[in-house]
């Protein structure tokens, strides 16, 4: 039985090899020096010889052995290949084929012993010329087809067939075999290894495999109850094959995004040279795999966006140089998996989009109502470009189209469930971000259970797994005002319990706590789950529209056992749990809502230092939180310093500032806890005892403080918290850091601060809020105008280096009767106030003298009130 099997395989293999051999011999005759070819022929014969010896086919073995000997001589260069020799070898090959045929039909090699052939092979090997050339030998080299029938005839005439037996029983059959032999040789040598397959077929295969998996699972369950060993072995085999098949079919559909990107360098080059630009194209994450159908769908939108960037986004070298940029424009493509989505970013460092022009055009085209447009943020404005009917216009904006509008881009991406978003800074560049949910893609996922249900967490969001065991370990989860946190290498990691987040039953008794540390956008949090199973490659499937409203799920997948498991959307879960408080970009921002978030909510970093149990500072001011072993802290020039990122970072113990001469508690902490502040050039580290928390909330009650280094107290997170006066702290460091001291009177004013530096805004805001004012912030002229139109404002303080122009802001305000009367305070930078244009401002103050700024604001606001001029905002 088994031998039959082996013979079968031997035959199949030999037929394939021999078919190739024919062609190779002909080739060899043309290129007798081709050692590779010779080696291949030798190998083929050698293989046959080896196997047939093992199977006991002695004649076959003898023929192949002699042939091999000759080939060996040729290979070693001991003799030269002559046409006669080629004929002889081919004759031998034919004989081998005939024998193989016979073996296939009868199971034995037959009676024919090929004495004559063997004699001549022997003679050839021994060095004599190939003996009596056979009458038919000329035919042999020509093609494989004719010799076959001739073998029979020739066998009768020249091989002196005592048992002239070997005529192929059915000539048609051998003719067929020959026909095959003729066709096959082309195959492997040319070796075109790819074929085109209809994606529909792949889809179908995918579904069929899915069903196969289910059937397999049922069989496996059934076989587990069976005694039959053969059956069990078979089902195991089925299991294995099914898994491999599943993987294979899934992979057939995946393609790296490179397949689309490959065409871009050429296109960019052509476009650049076409319009006299210099563009450098950078691509990151070209290996990011996407489902074939998604690749297809994003091809056109991607091309369109890249084309737009080259055409309109990037400037000519001259323009760039004039704008102070390097002459070579940069176009960057990035692709990566994140949060269960594929992100593709196309960004350029070109001229950006002017939101004002977009606004004007959108209003003119009647796409938005003017009052609607006024309320829109810059980001919302530039995204108006995606509205149908926008880009068909003449070149209004830098992105106007080339036939196909951006609306088509948007439609195409949304068709596959994606989102497209555009951000742009005038003069700095434009970024188009495409997010495609992985509805079709395959992602690695971590399988976990919680509350008796099974879920999958996309591996991309996974940072690490933490397992806390035993009683002591459980205490490692600490609580701050009902919020669980875990100290992960010294920093606080907010914790959420998945079962509570999802309202599942609570498994009260856990002997260990499993924390899955996750990353969503730029935030991290820990998710407590009941058990962690394993990681798997999963196929993401979309949820029905009934569940589209739940943003805690990214989709669902079918597990090995055929059951459905939900895939968690890490960002959604984080938001639901309240550990990620930042809102996702809302498509339509309600003004009211925006007001609350902008005006009152602020994120504070809470910490402990010296005898101050609860100190806070606006997180916006904090550059980083660091830990340094005490051993790394050095003294230089009477100051504490630490080497940090290739620089020397001065350190200030906070407790020493707040309570000069008090106990230095910070130096007892090892590693030392350091809050790093930076204004981009200078950095300073403030030593504290312990970082407590980060809280975002509306700060309600304020009490001013007379103590040096503190601005006052506020209730944050339900507890009284002292707010650190960063200015006073930084004063200690010297080096031109700003100085400040608390002061001012209480009277609530609405102040709009317009300054490009978030650092300064945070500082000033903190200072003014302590003085009881309500503060609005704006980073540019557009933003400032938008704020002014939304809110009633008493005083505007504007930095002279405001993007869009401080003077222009005042001019715009003067044109608007509702805003004309608002006094504007100019804030001069470190360079001091420039001469000239200052007359349009009510006053001018040096930006970093915060007390003076606060006093000026106070004075201006009082003056306004006195003259009873009410600024009327757009808001009722």
């Amino acid at each position: 039985m088994e031998e039959q099997e082996i013979i079968r395989e031997f035959l199949i293999e030999s037929h394939e090899n021999l078919a190739r051999l024919d062609q190779e011999m002909v080739e060899l005759e043309k290129r007798p020096q081709d050692t590779c070819l010779l080696a291949s022929i030798f190998r083929t014969i050698h293989t046959i010889k080896g196997t047939c010896g093992f199977l006991g086919f002695t004649t076959l073995e003898a023929v192949t052995h002699l042939t091999e000997n000759i080939l060996n001589q040729l290979r070693n260069g001991e003799r030269v290949l002559t046409p006669e020799l080629v004929s002889l070898i081919l004759e031998a090959v034919d004989a081998v084929k005939a024998m193989l045929d016979r073996i296939e039909r009868t199971g034995g090699e037959g009676e024919e012993t090929y004495q004559d052939l063997r004699g001549r092979l022997e003679a050839a090997w021994r060095g004599s010329a190939p003996a009596p050339p056979r009458p038919v030998e000329q035919a042999a080299p020509q093609e494989a087809a004719p010799p076959r029938t001739e073998t029979a005839d020739a066998g009768a005439s020249s091989t002196k067939p005592p048992e002239a037996a070997p005529p192929p029983a059915r000539p048609e059959e051998s003719a067929e075999a020959n026909a095959e032999a003729e066709v096959v040789p082309r195959g492997p040598s040319v070796a075109d290894t790819t074929i085109r397959v209809d994606v529909g077929l792949l889809d179908k295969l995918m579904n069929l495999v899915g069903e196969l998996v289910l059937a397999r699972n049922q069989i496996l369950q059934f076989s587990a109850r069976q005694e039959d060993a053969v059956f069990n072995a078979t089902s195991q085999r089925l299991n294995l094959i099914t898994t491999q098949l599943q993987e294979g079919v899934m992979k057939t559909r995946m393609q790296p995004i490179r397949t689309v990107w490959n065409k871009l360098p050429r296109m960019v080059r052509d476009l650049a040279s076409g319009c006299g630009k210099q563009i450098e194209l950078e691509m990151e994450g070209a290996e990011t795999e996407l489902d074939r159908s998604i690749i297809e769908a994003i091809k056109d939108p991607l091309t369109h966006i890249v084309r737009n960037s080259c055409d309109h986004g990037l400037e000519t070298p001259e323009e760039r140089v004039r704008a102070g940029k390097p002459p070579v424009g940069r176009l960057t493509l990035r692709a990566y998996h994140e949060g269960g989505q594929v992100n593709i970013e196309i960004s350029d460092d070109g001229r950006g989009i002017d939101p004002e022009r977009v606004k004007a055009k959108a209003i003119q085209k009647g796409l938005v109502r003017p009052e609607q447009a006024e309320r829109m943020s810059e980001r919302e404005l530039v995204n108006l470009l995606f509205l149908p009917g926008f880009s068909t216009a003449e070149r209004v904006t830098n992105i106007s189209g080339r036939g196909v509008g951006l609306d088509v881009v948007k439609t195409n991406i949304e068709k596959i469930g994606g989102v497209v978003d555009l951000t742009s800074r005038k003069g700095e560049g434009t970024t188009v971000r495409i997010k495609i949910p992985l509805t079709l893609a395959i992602i690695p996922g971590l399988v976990i259970t919680s509350g008796g249900e099974r879920f999958v967490i996309p591996q991309v969001s996974l940072l690490e797994l933490i397992r806390l065991e035993g009683e002591a370990a459980r205490k490692q989860i600490e609580w701050i005002h009902g919020t669980p946190v875990y100290r992960r290498r010294g920093t606080l990691l907010p914790i959420a319990y998945l079962n509570r987040v999802l309202g599942l039953k609570d498994d009260a008794e856990r002997e260990a706590i499993n924390i899955v540390v996750l990353q969503a956008e730029d935030r991290q949090f820990g998710l407590v789950v009941d058990a962690i199973s394993d990681t798997q490659e999963i196929v993401v499937k979309p949820l029905g529209k009934q569940l589209k409203g739940l943003n805690c799920y990214a989709g669902a997948t079918i597990m090995g056992d055929g059951r459905v498991a939900l895939i968690l959307d890490v960002l959604g879960i984080g938001q639901l749990a309240g550990v990620i408080t930042e809102r996702r970009e809302q498509a339509v921002t309600e003004v009211e809502q925006a007001e609350t978030t902008v005006e009152q909510r602020q994120t504070f970093l809470l910490f402990r230092a010296g005898s101050f149990e609860r100190l806070g500072i606006p997180l916006a001011l904090v550059a980083r939180l660091e830990e340094f072993p005490q051993s790394r802290i050095e003294r230089a020039g009477g100051r504490l310093v630490v080497q940090y990122r290739g620089r020397i970072l001065p350190l200030v113990p906070l407790s020493q500032i707040l309570e000069p001469g008090g106990e230095d508690t910070a130096s007892r902490q090892d590693p030392a806890q350091v809050i790093v502040f930076s204004d981009g050039e200078r950095s300073v580290g403030v030593l504290v005892d312990q970082i407590l928390d980060i809280v975002e909330e509306a700060v309600e009650v304020r009490e001013q403080s007379g103590r040096k280094g503190l601005l006052g107290s506020a209730v944050i997170g339900g507890k009284v918290t002292d707010i650190v006066d960063l200015g006073a702290v930084l004063e200690r460091v010297g080096e031109g850091w700003l100085g400040s001291a608390p002061g001012g009177q209480r009277s609530s004013r609405r102040v709009l601060l317009a300054d490009p530096s978030a650092f300064w805004l945070g500082m000033a805001r903190c200072r003014l809020e302590m003085a009881g004012h309500r503060v609005l912030e704006a980073g540019s002229r557009e933003e400032a105008l938008a704020r002014l139109k939304q809110h009633r404002v008493d005083v505007v303080a504007v930095a002279l280096d405001l993007p869009g122009g401080a003077g222009e802001l005042v001019a715009a305000m003067r044109r608007d009767p509702a805003l004309a009367a608002i006094p504007v305070l100019a804030l001069a930078g470190a360079a001091g106030a420039p001469g000239g244009e200052l007359e349009q401002f009510a006053a001018c103050q040096a930006k970093f003298d915060q007390d003076a700024v606060a006093a000026s604001i106070e004075r201006l606001a009082a003056a306004v009130r006195a003259s009873q001029i009410e600024a009327v905002g757009a808001r009722s």
């Binding site: 899915g210 069903e211 509350g451 029905g544 569940l547 079918i558 059951r563 459905v564």
Partner: protein, 159 residues
């Protein structure tokens, strides 16, 4: 409930022309019908994956040959009494605009052929969800066949 059944197919057999075929099912004693062409298949109850935080009417997700299908409890959808404990619902898979949806019903009835003549708009006093989801009523000989608006039935409040 719903034990007196399955004569409708013969009883309502009317000749061609003004007839229409409905796949029928029972819910809390009521007799419902869905146009037969909208029904993809009928399945026995199978284990499903719950979806925490989903609208209440969503019973869970089932794997229908590799496709993930949302199962909607029609008793809850129609605000009927909850299904008695231990009673396993049947699943009627309908083709919606956005793929298949499984409707969980008490019991599956026959396909009935009804005379268009016997159709009537839902009575005025029908209120609430029923008014929203019932397109009309066929007056069969011994009972009323309530025609379900499947498009609306599978439209579930977005979380």
């Amino acid at each position: 409930m719903a034990t007196v059944l399955k004569q409708e197919s013969s009883g309502a057999a009317v000749e061609a022309g003004g007839t229409q075929q409905y796949a029928t099912f029972y819910l809390d004693g009521f007799f419902f019908g869905i146009e037969v062409l909208q029904v993809q298949e009928v399945l026995r109850y199978q284990e499903m994956t719950r979806v925490p935080l989903a609208p209440e009417v969503v019973e869970g997700l089932i794997n229908l040959r590799g496709q993930i299908v949302t199962a909607i409890d029609m008793r809850k959808r129609l605000k009927l009494r909850p299904r008695p404990e231990g009673m396993l619902p049947m699943s009627m898979v309908v083709r919606g605009a956005d793929g298949a949806v499984s409707l969980l019903v008490d019991e599956i009835g026959d396909v009935v052929e009804v005379d268009r003549e016997s159709f009537e708009r839902p009575p005025e006093n029908l209120e609430g969800v029923a008014r929203e989801l019932i397109r009309g009523v066929y007056k069969l000989r011994d009972r009323l066949l309530l025609v379900l608006d499947t498009e609306r039935a599978v439209e579930v409040g977005h979380g």
